[in-house]
């Protein structure tokens, strides 16, 4: 005779192991990606209304609540970046003949690109304003 037993999956499965929790946090970074994208749309929209509107907007953003919120967002975005770069060698492995380029090399290369892009971004921003 057979009577297989099915164990239910608890709703809190993502708290059962740090890896699952980290995964959930990684997925939640999406909220901030959305947020920053929309925030940028707002920024440009304000800029479209003129210098004064833009100043007022930035003034509001100076509030400690906003800054804290953005710092949290930045942390999540960095988590997103870190995890995204870490998975790149899995998604798109690079091979030279039979040899696989080590994951570390691919990950480091991405961070170097990020650094270059970041410098360009800041320089452009600082130089034109």
């Amino acid at each position: 005779m057979r009577r297989p037993y099915r164990r239910p999956m608890p709703k809190t499965w993502w708290l059962k192991h740090p890896h699952y929790t980290l995964f959930m946090l990684r997925e939640l970074s999406a909220v901030f990606v959305i947020y920053f994208a929309l925030w940028t749309v707002c920024l440009v929209q304000r800029a479209g209304q003129g210098a004064e509107a833009l100043s007022r907007f930035l003034q509001t953003m100076k509030g400690p609540g906003w800054i804290l919120w953005h710092l949290i967002g930045l942390a999540f975005v960095l988590l997103h970046t870190y995890t995204w770069f870490a998975t790149a060698p899995k998604v798109m492995p690079v091979r030279r003949g039979a040899e696989k380029v080590p994951d570390g090399v691919i990950i480091a290369a991405q961070w170097i690109v990020l650094l270059i892009v970041s410098v360009i971004f800041v320089v452009l921003l600082a130089a034109t304003t």
């Binding site: 297989p4 099915r6 192991h17 998604v91 091979r95």
Partner: protein, 248 residues
């Protein structure tokens, strides 16, 4: 030294008498070179012959002794007691599967999923055996080699929350195998196999938790296989979109 012992908390479920699983504790001699499987065998041989579990090769290649050890999916033949001593060890059947009895899970869904990805070479033209083997360069071999190392131990299914949440998900091991054949230079079954691999239950079910690769005892990295499968499926999808049928 010889008197040292360790506690094993083992999940028991006997369908003929239990309505649900319960834990049973066993005190087992502690030996530095014993693995969890050795301890289970000691229990079965000397204390309680009613404890059921699967095992065979005891050298980490047959894939039958996977269980949850302290909540992690492990091969019990290469999980040493010394990793936990002197703390007790909890042993449960792999999660995300039905329990047949004690530490034995029901493998039927896995076998069905294995078949779905058509894990065999599909050829339009079959080379006569007299003409000898196909040529395959070492580079071509290494494209899929890693994904051919799966021992079907199913630890990845126990580690994958998607398998638990959506039982119809084909899952890490079977998908990695499907992708192994897609990447094999001798295979011509791309279209046929893609129907499953690139289906909703296939690679697209995966949310890339990545835990399958963490627990894989053979470093198959099914998560990588599945992500590469997504890239392959995406390129294929655009190709089909841009090119009329029959001209691919």
């Amino acid at each position: 030294m010889a008197d040292e012992t360790i506690i094993l908390r083992v999940l028991r479920y006997r369908p003929e008498q239990d309505s649900e699983p319960t834990f049973q504790e066993y005190e087992v001699p502690y030996r530095k070179d014993w693995v969890v499987l050795d301890a289970l065998n000691w229990i079965k041989e000397y204390k309680d012959g009613t404890l059921s579990f699967r095992w065979s090769c005891r050298m980490g290649v047959c894939g039958s002794c996977g269980m949850m050890v302290n909540g992690r999916a492990r091969l019990t033949c290469n999980t040493f007691l010394r990793e936990f001593y002197p703390n007790p060890i909890t042993v449960e059947p792999l999660v995300n599967f039905d329990i047949e009895r004690d530490l034995v899970i029901c493998m039927d869904p896995f076998i069905e999923k294995l078949k779905r990805v058509k894990p065999w070479i599909i050829r339009e033209d079959v080379k006569p055996v007299e003409d000898g083997p196909y040529e395959q360069s070492p580079a071509e071999l290494y494209r899929y080699k890693q994904f051919s190392m799966c021992i079907n131990c199913m630890l990845c299914y126990a580690a994958c929350p998607v398998v638990g949440l959506h039982p119809e998900f084909i899952g890490p091991a079977a998908l990695a195998l499907g992708i192994r054949y897609l990447l094999d230079s001798r295979d011509q079954g791309w279209d046929e196999r893609m129907e499953e691999v690139a289906s909703h239950d296939g690679v697209w079910g995966c949310t890339f938790v990545g835990e399958c690769s963490e627990v894989c005892p053979k470093h198959v990295d099914p998560a990588a296989a599945i992500q590469q499968g997504k890239v392959m499926a995406t390129l294929d999808w655009f190709k089909r979109l841009l090119m009329p049928r029959g001209q691919r």
